[in-house]
Each structure stands twice: as structure tokens, then as C-alpha cells.
């Protein structure tokens, strides 16, 4: 891993979306790693040490929110900014509340983006999160 580039881990089960987001973020100067499922993403955390994680809300097996909770509860990753991507903004809001409600003290996502992802918004959100 090079030291300077901002590293982003993209977690999405759709290879098309993964390819697309990876291409776009690389074009914008990020270093991107991808995972198709939560377990894979967790395995990669140590190696990648991402500056931000982009998670699809609906993932096979465990949901994107499970991954969020797991990372938040891990001291090492608790502060890594997490952006959740979803096709259903309302659903996510409700899900987030009821799901995170069951996990006292867990900080919610640092950003939520609806699908289709607006590239400019994604850059702005990542820019804000990675400079703060």
C-alpha cells in the first residue's frame, strides 16, 4: 500500500457496481479495494487499513448494517468513516433506527447515499469525511 493515496474499501455484492465505483474512485485519485461480502471485507480490513468504507445496505448473508456494527464495535476500526449506499432511502432510515436501536451506543453511518449514486455527492461526502 502506498502511503499517500486515500484508501477506500468498497463492499457491494454486485460486481458491476463494484467495478464502476472502483473505476470512478480510482479516476478521482483514490486507492480502491473491493469486497463482495461482509466476511471478505472484515478479512481485508487489517491488510487494507482503509480511510473510509463504502457499504451496500443490502448484502448477502449479513446485511451492510451488520458490518457497520461489527466495525464500530471493534476498537481498531471504530473511528473509520462509513458511508452506506442504498436503493431505498426510507427503508434504510427505518432499518437504521430499528437496527441500531438494538445496539446501544453504536454510531450510525457517517453518510448515506441513495442509488443511483450521484458521483459528485459521493466525492463531496468522501472529501468531507477524509479531511475532518
Amino acid at each position: 500500500m502506498s502511503g499517500d493515496a486515500r484508501r477506500v474499501l468498497v463492499v457491494d455484492d454486485d460486481p458491476d457496481i463494484v467495478d464502476y465505483l472502483a473505476s470512478f474512485l480510482e479516476d478521482e485519485g483514490f486507492e480502491v479495494r473491493t469486497a463482495g461480502r461482509c466476511s471478505k471485507a472484515l478479512e481485508m480490513m487489517d491488510e487494507v487499513r482503509p480511510h473510509a468504507v463504502l457499504i451496500d445496505a443490502l448484502l448477502p448473508g449479513k446485511s451492510g448494517l451488520d458490518l457497520l456494527v461489527t466495525l464500530r464495535k471493534n476498537n481498531e476500526w471504530a473511528d473509520v468513516p462509513i458511508v452506506v449506499i442504498t436503493g431505498n432511502d426510507r427503508l434504510l432510515e427505518d432499518d437504521c433506527q430499528s437496527y441500531l436501536g438494538a445496539h446501544q451506543g453504536v454510531r450510525g453511518p457517517d453518510g448515506v447515499l441513495g442509488k443511483p449514486v450521484d458521483r459528485e455527492t459521493l466525492l463531496n461526502v468522501l472529501g468531507t469525511l477524509l479531511t475532518s
Binding site: 458491476d16 467495478d19 464502476y20 473505476s23 463482495g36 461480502r37 471478505k40 451496500d56 448477502p60 431505498n88
Partner: protein
Amino acid sequence: MSNTDATARDRRAQEAATYERYWEEMPCYLSVHDRDFRIIDGNRRFREDFGESIGELCYKVYKGRDEVCPDCPVEATFADGLSHPSEQLLTTRAGAEVPVMVHTTPIRDEKGEVVAVMEMHTDIGEVKRLQALLQRSQERLGQLFEEVPCFITVQGPDRVIQHANRKFRETFGNPVGENCFKMYKHREEQCLVCPMQQTFDSGEAREHEEILFTKDGQKLNALCTTAPLRNADGEVEAVIEMCIDITQIRELQSQLASIGLLVGSISHGIKGLLTGLDGGIYMVNSGFAKAKPERVEKGWEMVQRNVERIRSMVLDILYYAKDRELTVEDVDLTAIVADFREGLEKKASDADTDLHIDIAADCGVFPGDAQAIRAMLLNLLENSLDACRMDSDQEHHAIRFAIRREAPWMVVEVEDDGIGMDRETREKLFSLFFSSKGIKGTGLGLFISNKIIDKHGGTIEVDSEPGRGTQFLVRLPLQAKPSIKPETEGA
């Protein structure tokens, strides 16, 4: 004559005058009859309605008869010296009929012999009118109870049905002596929550929704209301239960809910497809700009794939919306598979997946709807492809697609080594609007496939583990299910 005698006489005369006045003013007919049924006296009311008929025969005067009445109370009192009450219908001189209650009383001489009989007739016209009114309203109430277009029962504390209306009897059978839980729900014991019991306990009305079963086993959704029936002391003696059939309302509601779900599911799916298209276009554009042909190729594939997804989603929606009947003909699976084989193999190789197709040479034809069967097969195969594409744990995948004849079934197997399913996903697999594909699924595909198989009288089994892959086993009957009939000419 002494003063005392005179005073006593005066007093008697005064008394006689008083009684005479009482006699005259009594608000009923008073008459005195001799042994020969002649009227020997009558009061003012009597004279008003029956004229100056002293000396005439009572049966003539009162009833216009020519002979003694068969149940004459005067005769009876002469015979036994007792009072005899009876109901009679009199006709006044003016021709009005007056229903009366008659009381007779014997008038005796010094020796105690009955020398005359006094009759007192009390007009009971009003009572009779009220009685008739009461009977009419009782009949009206009974008719209402019978004809109300809902199910009505009255139950005692023992939960035995005492009364039931016509609609209840027609729908649930004759309830005499039966328990409500048996008649309404075919249960052998009291329901866990018994609203009737609650009404007995609290004395208050209760409303609740129930699922009832008719005598023919048909399921009904019903809105039931119980109310207490109290006796004169205010104690709850029985409970009346009224159930309204709301099956149609519930069906409509569930259809509306389905439409709502469908709309949500479709817009959800479209957003996912837009993301794919948007991504594909970005890849094509940026690929050209940066002179990266492999990126252009990838992007173009994404566009194609998402256009294909839109097509199949629209077909699914149309199939769901129409719920069409099967068009049964001889289905040749070999021909169907040959038709889509090339396109499918291309998709499989794009997803780095080997496709093994194994169709037994002797599998022949079977009766079914070729178009529906084709849609079902493609749906299963595309699901398997998706399961392989979603599995990032291994680069290379394989799908086995086999068809063989195993009387009495045509057997279709679709097996992949893709991502696999957990138990929850397996159990919800064929539910409407359930999708494990997140944003990319509408939850229609397998629901419709299952419906197609079911309509053919077939079965579908699924065996799957996360990380191991999935196997679908479809069995379609070689003999047409009785409910599906071949298309007739001109249809």
C-alpha cells in the same frame, strides 16, 4: 215510629242511594241475570251500549244469539254458586264488537239460595290491541333476527347455541345443542381467547376479527360483535354474537397491499438498474476518454446486462399482472432449450461460469404451457447465474442443467456452486416480493416460477447452503393435471 228507627231508615236510604250511584257509575257493564237468562237489571254503561233491554235474554242482548251460549258463565254460577271468569266478545246495539273480561258473582236470598247472577264485563279492547301489537312486533323481531344478512347466534353460559338465524344455519349448519366454537371453527374445545366469555365476565360488548369455517370447509374472515342479554335483575343471562362476513374486503385489502408492495418493489428495482446503467455509461465514456478498451468493453456489457434485466423485470411484472391461464400443448423441452441455449452460454461465459447442459435423448414431450415453462426455466437458470456472479469467494463457477424423464414426472435439475442461501432465504424463496438480490431483485421471478410449476401440477424443491451452492429440483407431471385442459379450436 221512634226517632231512632227514622234515623236508621234515613241512613239506609242514604246508603242505598250511594250504592245506587256507585252501581250506576261503574266504568264497566254491570247486569243481573235470572235463571232464565233474562236481564233483570243493568247499569248506565250497560244501558248506553245495549239499550233499555231489561227483561230480554242476555245471549240475545249481548251477542245477538237465539240460544244460550255454550260456555255461559251465568249458567255455571247458578249451578255451583261460584264466580266464573271468562273472555267474551259482545256486540253493542250500535254493532261495535267489544272484547270483555267477564266475572260472574252469585246473588243469594236469606236462605242462601242463588236467586240471580251478577255479571261484570270489563272492556279489554285496549289490552287486546296491545296484545296484538306485541305479537306483531315479536313476529317482526323474529323475522328481523332470521333475515339479517349476517350470522347471529345466542349462546348461554355453557357456550351452547340457543338460537341461530337463517344465514347462520345455511352457512354453518343446524346448531341446536352445539357449541359455538365447534360450529364456527370446527374446534373441539373453547377458543383460547373467547370474546363471548369476556362479555359474560365484563357485561360489556366486544368486537373482534375471526377466521371462521363454513360447513363446507370454506374460510371466512368475519368481524364479530358480542353483546350481553340481561334478565329482569340485570344479570347477563346469555350473549348475542353477530358476525359480518368481511372476506371480500380483506381480499381487496390484500390485493391493494400487493399492488403497493409491487410498486415499491418495482421502483426499488428500477433504482438498482439505473445504477447499473449509470455505471456502465460511466465506464464506456471514461474508457474512451482514457483509451482503456477493456473498460469500454466492461461498461458496454454492464449496459447490455441491465437492459436485459429491465426486459425480464417487465416480463415478470406483466406475467404477475395478468395471471393468465395456461395454454396447454405438447411441450418439447429439447427444442425450448435449443432456442435459448446460445444466449445463455454467452451470459455464462461472461460470468466466468461453465454451463453443462444434459438433456436425456428420450425425454420426449409432456403437456404444458411452452411459453410459461420457458420463462420458468430461464428464471431458474438466470438466478443460478446471479448466484455465481455474486459469489466473490471463487473466480470460476459451474452450473449443471439436466432434464430427464422419470415416470410419472419430467425432472428438471438446476445446480450451481454459487453463493448459496441461508435458511431464512430458503424459506422465503417463493414469497411474492422477497428478493435476496438486494436492489436488483423485484421478488417476482421465483414467485412466478413456483406459480407456473404449481399450475402444471408439479413440485419444486430446493437444497442450498451458504457458500456451497444451490440445487433446484423441478418435477412436472407427464399426464396433464385434471384442472388444465387443452386449448379448444378457435381459442
